[in-house]
């Protein structure tokens, strides 16, 4: 379903949705682009680079309570279920690479085993994508990992900026619902509008991006060079922080801890928090042995998970080329260069 929205009516559309759901849109605050809740009567405009934090937090928050517990001394413990009471949420301005990352997160959290916490949030959130007319970052490389600046994967709606208006395409049932609900604001797209959108997409593809060899070549190269001394060389400057993984739209590792709120009676919560493979304690065994004992082993894990293991398991790359891990690495460690140099491709 394809429609047209005049730019000056964007805020109206957002406000209309805001009456029924919590709406988020990129905003520039405290020096960074972030998805921020849109208060009533705020003017919404799209002129954002990619947000620093990806959209994954809407379905996989950094902290999720799994259940509560309580135990009186000498008695059996009681467990209280705490499935998230997710409210309807609509997120605007999602870049296509973040949309594609959602497809990858779905594979992890809903294929084989359906994670009820993830699913509860996923069911309630609508992702309204915005096609990139030019790459918002100099480290974008979506075209090299099977995506594009106008990919629809994982998005419910895709908006494309045209002259003075947006081409708005509903992709999923959830997307159709918010588009149909605004029939008074959105006009039906004419054949010429469809053509204009297609042209905008083709133009976007022409912008130069960072480049990586094909999925098959990179995967084969990484597999062959698993023991390459280049890993240590390239990771020697890595400081082992969590910037690359926490900001990655498709990194999904987590840790589970009990947070005690009282000792007598014993009460507390079991919580799931983001974790990441670049922290030294990620693979630390209780014996003190650490199988991934240095930054070389950890960089290999991160890059290979994105571009080799995920390919082996799901036949798609996990990385969607958003470039965040490159732009925000404190010391310039660059997944495109690392994968290229190690795989010899």
């Amino acid at each position: 379903m394809e429609t047209i929205l005049k730019k000056e009516r964007l805020s109206e559309w957002v406000a209309q949705i805001g009456a029924r759901a919590t709406v988020f849109a990129p905003a520039f605050a405290d020096g960074i682009w972030n998805f921020c809740a849109v208060a009533a009567d705020t003017k919404v405009e799209f002129d954002h680079g990619n947000t620093v934090r990806p959209a994954k937090g809407f379905v996989f928050p950094q902290r999720e309570v799994l259940y509560r517990f309580r135990q009186e001394s000498g008695k059996a413990p009681e467990l209280m279920e705490t499935l998230p009471a997710a409210a309807p949420t609509v997120v605007f301005g999602v870049r296509p690479c973040d949309g594609r990352a959602m497809v990858r997160n779905d594979k992890v959290f809903t294929c084989g085993f359906n994670d009820p916490y993830y699913q509860a949030r996923r069911d309630q959130v609508v992702f309204v994508g915005l096609a990139c007319s030019e790459p918002p970052s100099q480290n974008c490389f979506c075209l090299s990992v099977g995506g594009s600046p106008h990919s629809e994967d994982g998005l419910d709606v895709l908006m494309t900026e045209l002259d003075g208006r947006y081409h708005v395409k509903a992709i999923t049932a959830k997307g159709r619902e918010i588009v149909e609900g605004a029939a008074a604001l959105l006009d039906k797209a004419q054949a010429a509008d469809g053509k204009a959108a297609a042209k905008a997409h083709a133009d976007a593809d022409k912008h130069p991006q960072r480049a990586l060899a094909t999925m098959e070549k990179v995967a084969a190269g990484l597999k062959e060079h698993f023991d390459s001394p280049k890993w240590d060389e390239l990771a020697r400057a890595c400081i082992g922080c969590g910037a690359c993984t926490y900001l990655c739209p498709s990194c999904h590792c987590f840790d589970i801890n009990d947070e005690i709120t009282s000792n007598v009676p014993l009460t507390g919560e079991r919580v799931r928090t983001w974790d990441n493979c670049q922290f030294p304690d990620f693979t630390m065994h209780s014996s003190g042995h650490n199988p991934r004992h240095d930054t070389g082993a950890r960089l290999r894990q991160r890059v290979s998970h994105k571009l080799l293991y995920f390919v082996e398991n799901h036949n798609i790359q996990q990385c969607t080329g958003c470039g965040r891990c490159i732009s925000h690495c404190p010391v310039g460690i660059d997944i495109v260069r690392v994968a290229t140099e190690v795989s010899g491709q």
Partner: protein, 344 residues
């Protein structure tokens, strides 16, 4: 002006003579404008070394990281590491020497004076360029920064694009070095020391508390601020789960009941606690390289925390960290002539 050829030729001599195991310096990065740290091990690679206003990193950090790395090696190369150090970086080396974390003979310091300039702040630069990407940034003797973009060259005054720490820096040349490049320039005349932190001090207690709550709320606890800090070298940090030693005898109960000072959850209380601990552990040690603030992906003004403690150390104890490896440390020393009465 410091000529990169001079640095390269000294690096070459050191490598050819086998006097060092590597020269740690800066090279161009594929990731963006800023230079990136590089370990040059082959003398023919010294040509990759660069020196300009994009060499922001405090490489003293790697003295610490390399030490940890070497500990795990079966046959470590024990020759010293040569390291390029700006004024602030050299003060970090001094603190590591003072704390006996590294020994003087383990490091060859190629000190570089920033003279009348400094290094860029990429956020200021992004603002100044209104979204255009910079391809290079070079600082002249007066602090003016010439920036190349796809659509031509622009020159900015120091205050617009230099890092705040550089604007406030009073000793922009190395306090310790084996070879020094560039001149000692004492007259810099940008901003007064502690200018940024003084603006915060003017707030009321409630305002300040709201200011920090607002910032800490964004923290994702990626620990980039800690990982990049040369003084955050503890093997076990209170925030890590490894700070609990498990043996075969440790019972499940002991594991479950281990004390966690700070939870992994990014709640306001845990975030504030993390930052408080880190700031307190840096009092009298932080030398204001401002790397923590630079690397923070969500732009938390961490430098303000550390410089406020630096200011207190100066005002209450006449103490400036990193000036001399022989000076007794702030926390573990007592002086009869201490300017503060309350302690006597």
């Amino acid at each position: 002006m410091v000529a990169i050829e001079d640095i390269r030729s000294r690096a070459k001599e050191l490598l050819e003579g086998g006097m060092v195991r590597a020269v740690l310096g800066f090279r161009r990065s594929s990731a963006g404008l800023l230079a990136e740290p590089t370990f040059v091990v082959a003398s023919e690679d010294v040509a990759s070394l660069v020196w300009d206003a994009t060499c922001v990193h405090n490489l003293a950090l790697y003295l610490v990281n390399e030490k940890k790395r070497q500990k795990a090696e079966r046959t470590p190369d024990t020759r010293p590491l040569a390291i390029i150090a700006k004024g602030c970086d050299s003060r970090a080396i001094n603190v590591l020497l003072q704390e006996n974390h590294v020994a003087r003979e383990e490091v060859v310091i190629l000190g570089v004076s920033c003279e009348g300039g400094g290094v860029v702040d990429t956020r200021k630069l992004a603002d100044a360029l209104r979204g255009k990407e910079a391809a290079s940034a070079v600082c002249d003797d007066t602090g003016k920064v010439k920036v190349a973009t796809a659509s031509g060259e622009v020159t900015f005054p120091a205050a617009d694009v230099l890092a705040d720490r550089c604007l406030e820096c009073t000793i922009a040349y190395p306090s310790v070095s084996d070879t020094m490049f560039g001149e000692k320039v004492d007259e810099r005349g940008f901003t007064a020391r502690f200018a940024a932190v003084k603006s915060i001090a003017a707030m009321s207690e409630q305002e300040r508390s709201a200011f920090w709550d607002g910032h800490f709320e964004r923290c994702i606890r990626c620990y980039a601020c800690r990982a990049v800090c040369p003084m955050c070298y503890c093997d076990e940090c209170v925030v890590d789960s490894t700070s609990f030693i498990v043996s075969p005898m440790t019972t499940a109960e002991e594991k479950a009941n281990r004390i966690r000072w700070i939870q992994r959850s990014t709640t306001p209380a845990d975030n504030a606690m993390y930052h408080m601990v880190r700031a307190m552990h840096l009092a009298g040690r932080c030398i204001d390289c401002a790397e923590c603030e630079r690397v923070c992906p969500v732009n938390i003004p961490l430098r303000l925390l550390n410089t406020s403690l630096e200011q207190e150390a100066l005002e209450m104890f006449e103490y400036t960290p990193g000036m001399d490896p022989a000076q007794p440390s702030l926390i573990s020393s007592f002086r009869d002539d201490d300017p503060n009465d309350f302690i006597r």
